[in-house]
Every structure is written in C-alpha cells, then in structure tokens.
Amino acid sequence: MSELSPITVEIKGISKQFVLRHTRSIKEALIWFLKGRKGDLSAKFHALRDVSLDIRQGETVALLGFNGSGKSTLLKHISGVMTPDEGTVRTRGRVAGLIEVGAGFHPDLSGRDNVYLNAAILGMSETQIKERFDSIVEFAEIGEFIDTEVRFYSSGMYLRLAFSVAVHSDPEVFLVDEILAVGDEPFQKKCLDKIQELVDAGQTLVVVSHDLDLVQRICSRGVLLEHGRVLKDGPSHDVVEFLRSRTKG
C-alpha cells in the first residue's frame, strides 16, 4: 500500500446524470418534438458528482454511504458497465467481481455449465477454467450438487458458487457489491480468508457493504459517499466512526 505501488484504479472528476422519467415509445418522443420541444422530455439528477479517487495495488477500499448515495453506480463505472458523462476512469489489469449474486447464472443450467459460463463471462480462458474447475467446486463445497440445475440450489449455495467462480477468476482488481451477507458464518469466514490471501498476493479490493464491522475487518481504507459526492476518504476505522456518529445524529 505504499505510495510506490502502481495505481490500479484512477478516477478523475467523474459525474453521472441519470434520467428519471423515461420515454419508451417513438410516439411520445414525436409528440414532444412536434409540440416544439417544450419542457424536458425527461427529468435528470446527479448520481455521481465530481468524484475523484486513486486506488493503488493491494489497497482494500470500502465504499460506504446510505441507500442511493451512488456506491453501486461508482462500482459500475470501475467495471466499465457504465461510462461517465464527465471525467475519466482508468484501470490497470483485469477488473472483475460480483456486482450481484448470480448475475450471469442461468437457473435452468447445471452448476457445472454455470461455472463454465460464468467464468468465461468474467474473462477466464478455456484452459484456466479447466485447470481451476475442481478448485472452484471444492471451495464452494457444492459437492454432488454440481450437476444439479441451479434453480434447485438454496440461496446460500448459489452465493457460494458465484463467489467461488469470482475469486478464482483472479483479477487484478476485485469488486464486491453487498454479497457477503448471504453465506453462513463458516463460509463467510472462508471468504474473508480467501480475500485476505488475494490481497496479500497484490490484488486490489473494492467492496460495497453496509456491514460496518465487516468493513473494518477487511478494509484499510474507507470512502464515504453522500448524494454522489465523496464526503470523506481515509482509514476505514475513522470513516466508519464518522458514519456512526452521523447516524446517531
């Protein structure tokens, strides 16, 4: 985490506006156009405002903030799912992670097929998947259920498999949004150990979580967002304390 470690995520003054009211048909758009484009076709609001952030290799960063403060949106900008209206995001190496449990899982496919598909979606090559397949199944402790269709899985099993695939994809930057809550206690611990192991090996971690104790345990740095702005950025302990004091009022 020294200043000499290379920057893996560089966010420079990004802003993002969302449209609140959508027009879904050509008819509506045409009427609006013919009426002399009076008024706004759609209302807008800022989900991110002038956010700047540098994250270095090996850092463990928690994005904190109340519901709707823009945490998931920021994560989506890092992964490339969204692009900013203003400013730039640049990343180094492969970025992957879990934005939501089971995105990319198909309920009607077996666990095995889903592992292959999801691993490929996260950017693993065929040989990498074959090499790591056993390890993925072992980590998830799915055992004999691997050839069962995943719609018969419990939500915890779903999470285990999804998480296992994601950690095995071994990206340079690992993004996690709000997912550690579903697993049982032993599995959660196992995940945290695995994350620690990856961080020790030089991986960068960015997590979104409302579990402040968990955040303090795994993250060294905290970034607090409020209404799309960075309100505080510092050691996770301080930021969590700050957030707690604000909540109390």
Partner: protein, 289 residues
C-alpha cells in the same frame, strides 16, 4: 507484482466492437451452446424435433402444392423450389428476430457485468445457424430424392447465399437490438419487416414474373435486396438441377457477376452501419435497460 506497472491504464467499458467478439470466441461458443441446450431441455426427442418438423413441412409442400394444387406445371419440382427459399428465410427471420431482442433479453447481465455486448446479437445469429442446419439436411434429402446434381458453382452459390444473409442478420441485428433499448417499438418493426421479406423475394413465385410486370429498372431495384439474391442463389444451388426445365430460367442473368457482388456490398454496408449505431448507443445500455 511490480510487473503490473507494465500493463497500461486503460478506460474500462470501451470495446472494439466485433473484434472483441472474435477475441472472446470461447464465451461466444458457451453462449450459443447455452441457448441450444435450453431449447431442447425437458423434451424426450430433443434434437430429433428439429429434423422431424421440417421433414413434415417438406412432405406437406410436396403433396399439397405439387400434387393437389398442381403448381409443378408452372415451376418444375415446386416443393424443392419453395422449400429451398423457405429454409433460408427461416434462418433470416429467426436470426434477426432473436438478435433484435437479444440486448433487452440479456439486460440482467449487461447491467451488471462488463462484456462485449456485441456477443449477444452475434450469438443469436449463430444459434439460428445451428437451427438452420437440420432444415438444410432435410432439403438436401429432398433434393437427392428428386434428382439433384451438385455442381461446383451450385455449392458455391449455397455458401454465398448463406453468407449474404448471415452478414445481413448481424448488421440489422446490431442496429435493431441497440435501438430496441431506447424504443421497444423496434422489435415490432422488425417483425413487420420480416413478414414483408418473404413476399418481396421470389420465395413463392418466380423472378421472371417480377421482371415481366416491373420492367428493367424496377427489377434492378428488386434485385438489390440482398435477401432476394440469397434466395435466388439457393434456388440455383438446390433447385435448378432438379427442375427438369430450362436451367437458364433458374436464376436471373448476371446473378454471379453482378447481383452477388451487389448483395455483398449492401450487406457489408448494413453491417458497418449496424456496428456504428451499436457503438454509439451501447455506452448507455446499462442505465437505460
């Protein structure tokens, strides 16, 4: 660990279009395989259905059109004539319909994980190609039973016809799937367009009828539709040697010298336009879906 410094900082989410699809071809393969697997899930006969259905269709054509309606009198071996056009139109219809819906259909993934989004319309076209294959087998059996003789030019025509429509489906698929994110009318428009496609190409009737009614100029306009050229190439490939009639009538003049290149150029232009539009619109997919 420091080797990370050698990798440059890049802007995430900026893809290279169809080039990325080629780069991620293993993922493409898995996506295509997934769709095919899901289609036959829970059916006992599974893939056999894909052979049975077109086979029955062919037999019905043969008996109803050829024997009862007596259409063989005008067009020799009408069943093969009709069927060779229909299998190609089926491919085009399925490919474009599914490609146009593919982005909205896969929104769950597109909103959460970054991957080259072109994969989805392209995968739809591949899946349709896989469904086209059994129909082609049935067609070939029908051809062989009615005295088909393969010629090098005929085989070339078959491949060329398929290629033209595959390119066109990818191009139109990219265009309409990206527009569909903003205006769901796009899906309906595609369905309407496909309904017309069967009739503005010589699937049911012969090109000579169009030429007689329309004259040279409008016939040239008619011919510049790549779907028309594709169907004519298929007639040349599969039907011309089975018709028992005048082989010169099988295809319009200059099909290979003029109309095939025109069709390729038009399809390539559509592909370029589709890719251009898709790339303009894709930056906002995640937030609009």
């Amino acid at each position: 660990m420091t080797s990370l410094l050698d990798t440059p900082l890049v802007r995430p989410g900026i893809g290279q279009g169809l080039k990325d699809v080629f780069r991620r071809r293993y993922l493409l393969k898995l996506l295509v395989r997934k769709e095919i697997k899901l289609r036959y899930r829970g059916s006992v006969l599974g893939v056999i259905w894909s052979y049975v259905k077109p086979a029955i269709q062919f037999v019905v054509f043969y008996i109803a059109m050829g024997v009862f309606l007596g259409l063989n009198k005008n067009v020799g071996n009408y069943a093969v004539y009709l069927f060779s056009g229909i299998v190609l139109i089926n491919f085009f219809t399925e490919a474009l319909n599914n490609a146009a819906k593919s982005i909205v259909y896969n929104s769950g993934l597109i909103k959460k994980i970054f991957l080259p989004r072109e994969l989805f319309p392209v995968a739809s076209v591949f899946v349709s190609a896989a469904h086209f294959f059994p129909q082609l087998v049935v067609l070939l059996i029908g051809c062989l039973l009615t005295g088909w003789q393969p010629t090098p030019l005929g085989i070339f025509a078959g491949f060329a016809g398929f290629l033209v429509l595959a390119m066109l489906s990818v191009g139109l698929g990219l265009f309409f799937s990206s527009v569909n994110v903003y205006f769901r009318d796009s899906e309906n428009f595609v369905e309407m367009m496909l309904m017309v496609a069967t009739w503005v190409s010589p699937v049911m009737y012969q090109w000579t009828m169009v030429h007689e009614r329309l004259g040279d100029f409008w016939f040239a306009v008619y011919q510049s539709n790549p779907v028309t050229v594709g169907v004519e190439l298929f007639h040349y490939a599969f039907w011309s040697t089975t018709s028992g009639g005048d082989a010169a009538l099988a295809a319009p003049p200059q099909l290979f010298e003029l109309w095939l290149p025109v069709a390729l150029v038009v399809s390539a232009a559509v592909l370029a336009l589709g890719q251009f539009t898709f790339r303009k619109l894709e930056v906002k997919f995640a937030q609009e879906l």
